[in-house]
Symmetry: C2
Subunit: 132 residues, 2 copies
């Protein structure tokens, strides 16, 4: 049961890792916000703490461009990847390192609903909160 | 396209509404925590703000029994319901009314990944945060 699908799932996990890594290296590392076109679907929604729901990639790009100015890196780690029809539900954890001499870190956990768009695996629904 | 699936989706939405309503009427209204057996899958996980991930229904029941003592109602409203293979991804909003003379309200948004268990639609992954 399920073993025939394992290679496909492993490929999806690799594709997901490449998207997640882009978020750290391009968006946080280089402040290249056009990389968000490769990360979020065009009609994606994010549900940030302390903010109403934000819909659509242009609004999502504005959100991150404002937030990233105070952060240095965002390292994402998958905890669980659940195939869900044409999509995937992922539970994960992110460590955000903020700017500043003491480089404080923020621990975040998240749920992302992934969908394919233009042959890439992207974030379609993205919600997170802090452990403390 | 898709019209053949509409009746099935409407049935699922009704089943989801009955689960969501149980959360308000039984868990919050009557402090009947055994109703959580009908709401969460046995291996569900919740990701509450200000807490690490909580796994499994027994731990989830402990979490809600501690929190509900200070709350009176939790009215859930679906914003979007996305079929996802054997499951459903839901975006929603909850209004929590807390105990106290002034009955303060808390606005919460959430994402739930639903799965079927024992013929019922239940919450398998549940994460939320506050708008402000």
């Amino acid at each position: 049961m399920g073993t025939a699908r394992e290679p496909a799932l492993n490929e999806i996990k690799l594709a997901m890792k490449s998207t997640n890594d882009l978020f750290n290296t391009e968006v946080f590392g280089k402040r290249n916000f056009d990389a968000l076109d490769l990360i979020y679907t065009s009609d994606a929604r994010i549900l940030p703490p302390g903010s109403p729901i934000i819909s659509g990639r242009p609004a999502i790009k504005r959100f991150w461009s404002e937030l990233v100015s105070s952060a240095r890196s965002a390292v994402l780690t998958s905890i669980d990847v659940m195939p869900a029809g044409d999509g995937v539900v992922e539970i994960g954890r992110a460590t955000l390192t903020l700017e500043g001499e003491s480089a404080p870190q923020m621990e975040v956990k998240y749920v992302v609903y992934w969908r394919q768009e233009d042959g890439r695996w992207k974030w379609h629904v993205d919600i997170w909160n802090q452990d403390s």
